[in-house]
């Protein structure tokens, strides 16, 4: 069976590697991206099942990538967890953008893990119920090529 894939977008080497390690131990496939530009390019290819994202990145704000992920129809159901040190982050805006959960660093891995598990279960249920809807979406998209369903 194919492993669940998780993408980490964080520029801190130490933390991201540790997190990757911890997730791998828990039998997840993990990709780490340290810049927004790389993340944007690679995410489309790899299509992860869940994204863990920091807000402050060397080449931009985490808000931007969350926004673009939500606009991409192939991605718009991927759960996003924000893991940030920015305490005064605009929580409301993040939730509006569809962020599932916000963690402020430092966060215990056990909490992160249980959240990831819950979100994946929810996603699977959602995908199951939405399969007919997605099929319809695909069909419509093939007919009206330019329609955007963000």
């Amino acid at each position: 069976m194919k492993k669940v894939s998780i993408a980490i977008i964080d520029d801190n080497y130490h933390l991201s590697e540790n997190l990757k390690h911890l997730l791998v131990i828990n039998d997840y496939h993990v990709e780490v991206y340290r810049t927004l530009s790389r993340a944007e390019a690679e995410l489309k290819k790899n299509k992860p099942d869940l994204i863990i994202c920091d807000l402050n990145l060397p080449d931009g704000e985490g808000y931007d990538i969350i926004n673009s992920i939500r606009k991409n129809t192939g991605f718009n159901l991927t759960p996003i967890i924000v893991l940030t040190g920015v305490l005064n982050a605009n929580v409301n805006e993040l939730f509006m953008l569809g962020v599932s959960k916000i963690f402020f660093k430092p966060t215990q891995f056990s909490l992160l893990k249980s959240t990831i598990e819950k979100l994946l279960v929810k996603r699977r249920e959602y995908m199951f119920f939405n399969k007919p809807f997605q099929a319809a979406q695909k069909f419509i998209k093939s007919v009206f090529n330019k329609v955007d369903y963000a």
């Binding site: 801190n12 130490h14 933390l15 540790n18 997190l19 390690h21 911890l22 131990i25 402050n56 893991l83 040190g85 920015v86 305490l87 005064n88 929580v91 409301n92 939730f95 959960k101 916000i102 402020f104 660093k105 430092p106 966060t107 215990q108 891995f109 909490l111 249980s114």
Partner: protein
């Protein structure tokens, strides 16, 4: 003996006797009536002819005639007096019963120094008398008026002797009568008073005679009881048709009371003048054009210009700002405004000075602006002080901002390495599982301590950051209507690190309403209270509960736990920084959380209260007005 010449005289005398308009009765020395005339009969209305009386005893007649007199006694006395003296006397005046007035003259007749008879000569003076009475009545009327006037009135002859005095001038009737024809010197002598009063009056009287105009002066009289009386005296010359001074009217009015009031007014005026003169603010009045009419000495102190040199100058000419002129014109023209407060710079001898000004219009009865007055206060020093303070404040603000930026930066920058350390410890824990059992136990204890401490630093960073924000005054309420219940129920899933073991129940009472609040802040409040509730609840204890109670005026949110509770003595320290209850043991906490809770709730004009019992549980209640 009866020569023709004698006969002529006799006849003539007889004729005169009968036709003269006097009632005449001639008696001989033995009081036997010698002759009487028709007029006499007429006066007394006797039912007889003159001839009938001849030869009668006069005493008998007198007894009858007496009845005609109103005052019979006086008549008898007069007759007896005449008879005993036997000298020419009269006229005596009598009033008769029938209303007539008669005058009696007594003429005795002597031959060779021997009494040879006498004649009684009556004349009817009724008309004259009535006329006199009429005149007296009129004069009484006027003198009554003069007497009752509350002013001393005297009439002087041009020689300055008294011709008339009214009762107010001299009360005593007799003395008043005595004064007629006398002078003020006589008065002073009689009353033993110093003659300087008379001197002054005499001087003024002469002034009237020469100037032929009214003369006024004030007389100060010290009364018997020591009180001062001030009398305004006036001499008014009466000039007749021939342009001569016929008499001088003098009158005096008691002005003691008026004078007193005048003095009082003067005193208050002096007082207020003193106040205005010593007032630190400039007080001025100006006419409609804005020219100074009056300025108090403060002007000189503030500007250095003398008050005299500035009177009549335009106020605007001393104001630096050219637009002030228009402001003033607008103010004076605006009927709605009666007052104006503003501040501007004025030119002084040295430098420009800031003043705070107040203007107020003086309105005439028909509501037209006649002039205005105002005050100017020197606020130059104050302004300089203010500037200094402002600079200090700005500096302070900058520093504060720098501080909060620093705190912000540090707390963010510390968080990521902390997260790194935490994850490393968590990895170590996993690696640790493969080593032997005795070591494993020991190291596990330390790993968990490191983890706890890291989490504590994280929390502390969080609270310090918010506290920094509060201190720099950056917290502003961003109020919106919040669906409170929905937000609070979402809460448990999103914000708090809640595990499956502590599911929090939410109870709602009353009709849920939307509540105006800054949700970001209140979220922090509830996060804090809830995480406390979870933190201080042991695994085997009942889960905390949230109770929302919508009252008519406010909403109460109670977060109730069944945890370790707070010892009684620690309750009052609860909302002080870095104070934690003594029974917290090794449970993480910064000691700042509840301060923030209190602060945020009070920002919403709400209240936080706590009820707690050790080992039973705590319940924190937040009361928020709608």
């Amino acid at each position: 003996m009866n020569s023709p010449a004698n006969q002529y005289h006799l006849d003539h005398a007889n004729y005169i006797l009968q036709n003269i308009p006097y009632g005449i009765l001639i008696e001989d020395s033995k009081r036997c009536i010698h002759s009487a005339n028709q007029e006499l009969i007429k006066i007394f209305g006797m039912d007889a002819k003159p001839e009938d009386l001849v030869g009668l005893d006069c005493e008998v007649l007198a007894e009858q005639v007496k009845q005609a007199f109103k005052n019979q006694e006086y008549f008898v006395q007069t007759i007896n007096k005449c008879l005993s003296e036997k000298v020419k006397s009269g006229p005596y005046e009598f009033e008769l019963v029938n209303g007539k007035f008669v005058e009696l003259n007594y003429i005795p007749y002597y031959v060779n120094d021997a009494f040879a008879g006498h004649s009684w000569c009556y004349s009817n003076v009724t008309i004259k008398k009535n006329h006199e009475l009429e005149v007296k009545k009129q004069s009484d009327f006027f003198s009554d008026i003069l007497d009752s006037l509350p002013a001393d009135i005297a009439i002087f002859s041009p020689q300055h002797t008294y011709m008339f005095l009214n009762k107010t001038a001299i009360q005593d009737d007799e003395f008043r009568q005595w004064m007629i024809g006398k002078t003020d010197y006589d008065y002073c002598n009689k009353k033993n008073k110093p003659t300087n009063i008379a001197d002054e009056r005499n001087k003024n009287f002469k002034k009237v005679l020469t100037s032929r105009q009214d003369v006024y002066w004030e007389d100060e009289i010290i009364k018997a009881d020591g009180d001062k009386k001030i009398i305004l005296r006036i001499f008014h010359p009466y000039i007749n048709k021939t342009n001569e001074i016929e008499f001088v009217v003098g009158y005096g009015i008691d002005i003691t009371e008026i004078k007193k009031k005048d003095l009082q007014i003067l005193e208050t005026e002096l007082k207020s003048k003193f106040l205005i003169d010593n007032f630190k603010k400039v007080v001025f009045t100006a006419d409609y054009e804005g020219k100074f009419v009056d300025i108090n000495p403060a002007w000189e102190k503030i500007t250095g210009f003398s008050v005299k040199s500035c009177l009549g100058n335009l106020l605007t000419s001393y104001v630096k700002d050219a637009s002030f002129k228009q402001t003033l014109i607008d103010f004076l023209a605006d009927n709605e405004k009666t007052e104006l407060n503003l501040s501007f710079q004025i030119k002084t001898q040295k430098q420009l000075k800031w003043v705070e000004a107040y203007f107020s219009k003086n309105l005439s009865i028909d509501n037209k602006v006649k002039s205005f007055w105002g005050t100017l206060s020197d606020v130059d020093e104050q302004n300089k002080e203010k500037d200094k303070l402002l600079q200090l404040i700005t500096k302070e603000k900058e520093l504060n901002e720098l501080k909060s930026k620093f705190v912000n930066m540090v707390s963010h920058e510390v968080r990521t390495p902390l997260a790194g350390i935490l994850s490393s410890v968590e990895l170590l824990e996993i690696i640790n599982q493969n080593i032997d059992a005795s070591l494993k136990e020991k190291s596990a204890k330390h790993y968990s301590r490191i983890k706890d401490q890291i989490l504590k630093i994280g929390e502390l960073m969080n609270d310090v950051l918010i506290l920094g924000k509060i201190e720099s005054g950056k917290i502003e309420l961003d109020v919106e209507e919040v669906d409170f219940v929905a937000n609070l129920s979402k809460f448990s899933t999103n914000n708090i690190n809640i595990t499956d073991s502590n599911i929090i129940k939410l109870f709602v009472k009353g009709t849920p309403k939307k509540v105006k609040m800054d949700w970001k802040l209140m979220e922090h409040v509830f996060t804090n209270l809830l995480s406390n509730a979870i933190k201080y609840t042991k695994d085997n204890q009942k889960s905390p509960e949230i109770l929302i109670n919508f009252h008519s005026k406010d909403v109460e949110v109670t977060i109730k736990d069944y945890g370790i509770g707070i010892p009684k003595d620690d309750l009052k320290l609860l909302f002080q920084p870095f104070k934690r209850a003594s029974n917290v043991g090794n449970i993480n906490g910064t000691g700042l959380g509840l301060i923030l809770v209190k602060y945020f709730v009070e920002l919403h004009k709400g209240e936080v209260s706590v009820i707690s019992e050790e080992n039973v549980g705590s319940s924190f209640t937040v009361k928020l007005p709608y």
